[in-house]
Amino acid sequence: MTDYYSMIKNNSRGRKLKSRVMLFLCVFAAMLAILPLVYIFFYTTIQGASSLNLEFFTELPKPVGETGGGMANAIAGTAILVGLGSIFGIPVGILAGIYVTEYSKNMFANIIKFVTDVLSGIPSIIIGIFAYGLIVIPMQRFSAYAGGFALGLLMIPTITRITEEMLKLVPHNLREAALALGIPRWKTTIRIVLRTASGGIITGILLAVARAAGETAPLLFTSFGNSFWSSSLDSPMASIPVQIFNYAISPYDEWHRKAWAGAFVLISLVFIVSLIVRLATRNKYSQSA
């Protein structure tokens, strides 16, 4: 007599074991994915924090061989470039997002959504080439304008996306209530809908700004870089990421230390912004999930 019972039992033991192993591998994958983050984070902190001092934020870069000096011009440059980018990127991103959610009765809104997704996938170096052709060549020199424009372009998809998502979360009753009171649609959109969603949109903007602050590739041949205080927006301007790049590939230890300090500043910015975004959106996500 065939012992069906033990056959089934053995078989199920094998399946259960396989299930255990696969689930363990998934846990392992999660640990493996986080490992580089933890490594990079602590490595940058250890390397960077020790070379970080007040001078780093207040002094100009020093030539090779001289100790000291900082990245003050690059820090100011990054702030200016991101500011220029924001002036261009934030309004475009928000208004396009409003169009997609509030007036999306037609095919065109879907096309815009698709195009925004495609724009977010265009390599940042390509955006750099675009800004070069559009601004650097006609002006005949590298400039902060070109760099800021490139950063602004890179911010648009993130902001459009988050505006869409956040506007979708605004209950429809709110719009109907406002319209029932006789408030025009555009006023409803700006004063009621946008305002209700503003918290989420602001976190999205923060995220886009933090990303833009860390972008290197589009600045290499738009704002280029220099080692002095930039006096005007139509001349080359230093930025933290480009400065890190130039220092990192140099053979000098002193410059490497400066680059690590810069990397630490950038990574701290990313961490703080991510934390703010997380805390601000936590409730919304847990509700929708």
């Binding site: 399946r15 259960k16 299930s19 696969m22 689930l23 998934c26 846990v27 994958a29 999660a30 493996l32 994915a33 986080i34 580089p36 983050l37 490594y39 990079i40 984070f41 490595y43 309004p91 475009v92 208004l95 409003i98 169009y99 007036y103 815009i112 698709f114 195009v115 997704d117 724009l119 265009i122 390599p123 390509i126 750099g128 675009f130 052709g133 559009l134 372009l153 648009i156 025009p184 649609r185 555009w186 933090a210 602050a213 860390g214 972008e215 290197t216 590739a217 290499l220 041949f221 990421p241 890190i244 790049f245 990192a248 590939i249 990397a263 950038l266 990313v270 912004v273 991510s274 997380r278």
Partner: protein, 317 residues
């Protein structure tokens, strides 16, 4: 009296209409601007690469030459470096990302889930320059002193593991890229898995399936969405610039070994554009950019369409 009311209503209506039309068209214009920019990027790069396109024709894609002294340019070595490093990245990142996504949706409790997804979000936000910097001083030496000798002692007879790299090469670039694209593949796979109805898994359990068997079924049902996530990750890997530039070795050559240095499309633009020697050089670099743009455009469109159609299907199910 009713006459006045009607008049009033008419006035209100007409002013409302005008401002509404203005506002709607303003938002429409900005939306249109995004589309126009994407088209214009293509147009500008197409025009600016004219000199190179006319001189080299289709031979540009297949030629191995890249010589700014003689003015001969071809993109094959860069295409090779981009493709191979991206494929390595996908081979490493895909299983890990699926594992993490399964962990997040099926295994972790809510505290672990939010902690792990937070960490992965940060990983996605770290600037690529920092990955590259870390790659130069941590990963590349590790590859040179640990990975390369140990792999070569066992598989050294296989050509792709031969050679004598210094830690900078295709494999190092692929590993850095894998780390960088894991967050995006994970995030989309997680969303896709969430879209699979719980009732399907419950049905599997009711039939006596183990937990993994139920998950496997969900994964199989989600495969077009996961494919979309994978292709999107590929698009990111292909276009990634700084991190690759810093670890791939920047040598325009095609060698059998993955440990040998190579060059990628994005890297050659990053390295040579600002110091290009003459208009033909610039034009050739822009043509490389045009190819890169075309490839990432196709990859991203394909990925997005896959993801859209999957989420639509999942919603109607």
């Amino acid at each position: 009296m009713p006459d006045i009311e009607a008049k009033e209503r008419k006035i209100i209506k007409s002013t409302r209409k005008l401002s509404d039309i203005l506002f709607e068209n303003a938002t429409f214009l900005f939306a249109l601007l995004i589309a126009a920019i994407v088209i214009y990027i293509f147009y500008e790069m197409f025009m600016d690469s004219a000199e190179s396109r006319e001189k080299f024709g289709f031979g540009f894609i297949t030629s191995l030459n890249w010589d700014s002294v003689r003015g001969e340019y071809g993109a094959m070595t860069f295409i090779y470096g981009t493709v191979v490093s991206s494929v390595i990245a996908l081979i490493i990142a895909l299983p890990v990302s699926i594992g993490v996504a399964v962990f997040l949706t099926e295994i972790a409790n809510s505290i672990t889930r939010s902690a792990v997804s937070f960490l992965i979000e940060i990983l996605a936000a770290i600037p690529s320059i920092i990955f590259g910097f870390w790659g130069i001083y941590v990963l590349a030496p590790f590859m040179r002193t640990v990975i390369q000798p140990s792999v070569q002692s066992v598989f050294g007879f296989i050509p792709i593991f031969g050679g004598s790299g210094a830690g900078f090469g295709l494999l190092t670039a692929g590993i850095i890229l894998a780390i960088m694209i894991t967050p995006i593949i994970t995030a989309i796979t997680r969303d896709v898995l969430k879209a699979i109805p719980v009732s399907q898994r419950e049905a599997a359990y009711a039939l006596g399936a183990t937990k993994w068997e139920a998950i496997k079924m969900a994964l199989l049902n989600a495969k077009s969405g996961i494919l979309g996530a994978t292709v999107l990750g590929l698009g990111r890997a292909v276009g990634e610039t700084m991190a690759v530039t810093m670890v791939i070795g920047n040598k325009a050559q095609i060698k059998e070994s993955l440990f040998e240095p190579a060059y990628s499309m994005a890297s050659v633009i990053a390295n040579e554009f600002a110091e290009a020697s003459g208009t033909l050089h610039i034009s050739a670099l822009i043509e490389v950019g045009l190819i890169l743009f075309g490839v990432t455009f196709i990859i991203n469109s394909f990925a997005r369409l896959l993801i859209y159609s999957f989420t639509k299907k999942a919603q109607t199910r």
